[in-house]
Symmetry: C2
Subunit: 353 residues, 2 copies
Amino acid sequence: MEIFYARRVTTPPTPVSLRQKPGPNQLAVTGIGNAMLDVISQDHHEVFRQLGLTKAAMTLIGEERLDEFYQAMGPTMQMSGGSVANSIAGIAALGGTCGYIGKVADDEFGERFTHDLRTMGVELDIAIAKPHEGATGRCHVFISDDAQRTMATYLGASNQLQVDDIREDLIARSEITYIEGYLYDLPPAKIAIQKVANFAHEHDSMVALSLSDMFCVDRHRRDFLSLVTHDVDVLLANESEILSLFQTNNLEHAYSSLNEIGVLAVITRGAQGADVATFDGVVSVPASEVAHVVDQNGAGDLFASGFLYGLALGADPVEAAALGSLCAGEIIQHLGARPESDLEAMAAEAGFL
Amino acid sequence: MEIFYARRVTTPPTPVSLRQKPGPNQLAVTGIGNAMLDVISQDHHEVFRQLGLTKAAMTLIGEERLDEFYQAMGPTMQMSGGSVANSIAGIAALGGTCGYIGKVADDEFGERFTHDLRTMGVELDIAIAKPHEGATGRCHVFISDDAQRTMATYLGASNQLQVDDIREDLIARSEITYIEGYLYDLPPAKIAIQKVANFAHEHDSMVALSLSDMFCVDRHRRDFLSLVTHDVDVLLANESEILSLFQTNNLEHAYSSLNEIGVLAVITRGAQGADVATFDGVVSVPASEVAHVVDQNGAGDLFASGFLYGLALGADPVEAAALGSLCAGEIIQHLGARPESDLEAMAAEAGFL
C-alpha cells in the first residue's frame, strides 16, 4: 500500500475567531535562525547569470565576493531578512508576541537587523559575533521580471551561533519554537539546535522546523531525518524540499513517509496553495488570489507566520494554513520579505483575529 | 480679466512614438539636487505625531535628532532617494541617458547613493563633503495607512553643494537641466543654481525647476519668482506649491500668473492627474488608473521623469505629461520612490517609446 492519505481539497475555509492570545509573560513563537540583511535588486536583464548563479536557487558565497556582487547589482533596496526572522516579523505584524534568537556582527548591518525586530516588539536574544567570525550575514536577492528570486548568501556571523549564545528563557515561555534549517550549514549550530529541541520539549514548547532549501536538505538529509523523526512536532517545507528529504519525485510517497513518522506537516505549493498533512489525511488549502505577483521572496516565510501563529492560538492546522495563505498573499505583491500592510487588520477583516 | 486660459480636459491622449533619442554623447536630462538616502517605515500607528511632525509635510531636522528618529521608527527599508535623483533614476529606467550632480559624505550611505545611480548608467558628478559638512543626507519617511507620507529630512552633506562642485560638462551636453527647489535651503547652493541656469542657457539646455515643497516655496518665494521669471523654461509643481508661489488660493489665478510670466508649467494634482499650462491654455491629463495606492512617495518625482524625458525626446507637453502619468502610476503601487517595474517596457507597451 503506497498511499496512506485520503486527499481532499477544501474550498477556502470559513475563518472562525482564533483562541485567546498567550498570557502576559508567554510568547506565541520564538524563532531561531540566520540573522541576515537582504540586499534586493530588480534584475530586468538577469545579471545573476553572469555571476554564475542558478536561477531561483540559493548559492552560498564567501566574504571575498561581497564587493563583486554588490557592484554587479543594480540599485538596491535594503531591509532586514532571514527566513525565520521574516516569519517572526510577520507574527509580530499579526499582533503576536514572539522572540528571536540569532547572531550578528558589531557593524551597521547588524545594528539595523536588531533595530527592525526590536521596534516590532520582538523579544531578542541576539549574540554579537567576535571579529574573526565575520560580518553580519547578507543575502543578495535578484528579482527577475517573472517574479522569481535568485539568491547569493554570505552567511558570515549569522551562522556562528553556538550553544552558549542561546537564552533558554525565551524558549521556555513559547508555545512554539521555530528552527531554521539553514542553521545546519555549520557544525556548532547543529549541536545548538539539538539543545534547543531538547529544551523546548522539557517546557512543552512545540518544535517546528523549516527545511529552508532543497540543496540545504541535500547537504543535511540524515540530520534532518533524525530531527524530524525524534524531535519535530511540525514540519514546514515546500514541494522540492519535502521531495528531497525523502528522495522521491512523488509527493504522495513523501506524504506517506510523513504519516509513518507521525509528524504534522505543511507543504507550500506556490499558486497551488498548501497541503496540510495531518494524521487523518492531506487537506489542500488554496492560495490567496492575487492580482499581480511582484516578488515571491518571503511567500513561504509569511505563510509560516500565519500558520504557526494560528497553531499557537489553538486553531486546527487547516484553519491555521488559511491564515498562512492570507499572509503569503500580502508579501508577494511587493518587493521584500517583510510585510508592508497592517497584517493584523487584514487578518481581523478576514475574520481570523 | 482674471482668467487667461481656456481650460480643456483631455481624454487619455493616444500615445504616439516619441522622437529619436539624443545623440551618442548627448544626455536627455541632467539633474542637480539633494542626494539623500530614504529610510522608509510603514507607520500604522502614526508614530510621526509623537515626534512633532506635520502629516504629509517635510520637516527639516538636525544631526542631533537622527538617532532619536531612527529609534522611534519601526522596521525600515532603505533605498536611495532625493526628489530629483528619483526623477533621474526614472529617466534611466525609461532607457534615457542622463546625468546627476549632487553631494554626499564619505560614508556608507553616500557610497550606496552613488552605487545606485551609477549602476543604472547615470553619468555622475558627485562631490564628496568635508567632514565638518556633515553626514550623507537622509530622509525619514513615515507611510500612513492612507498612503500619505510624512517626512523628516536631515540635509547634511547634500545641501553643501558649492559652485566649484559642479561639472559644467554634463549640463552642456543635456537637452534639459533639472534643478531641485530644495537646494535653495542653503545660501551657497543658491549661487550655484544661478550659475547652473546661466550655463544651461549658454549651451541651449532647457532649464527645468521643481518647486519641491510648499514650505520650501514659502521660505524662498522671492528667489523662486525671480528664477522662474528670468531663467526657467519649464516649471514643475504640485497644487499647494504653485498656490504658495503666487500667494493665492485659486488655481486659475496661479495659471494666469504663469501665462503672464510666459513659462511652460505642469501642475500635478494627485488622483486628478496633471494640468499642463502652455501658452495656448491649460490642458488636463488624467492620472493612471491604479488598483491600490500603497505609497504616494515619488509620484511627483516619477511624473517628472516621464514628462521631462518626453520633452527631451521632442514630444509636445501634453503627450509628455501622459508619459509622466504612466510613470507616476507605477511608483504609487509600492513602497519607495524608485521604480520597481521595467519602465521602459511599460512605456513601450503603452506605445510611447
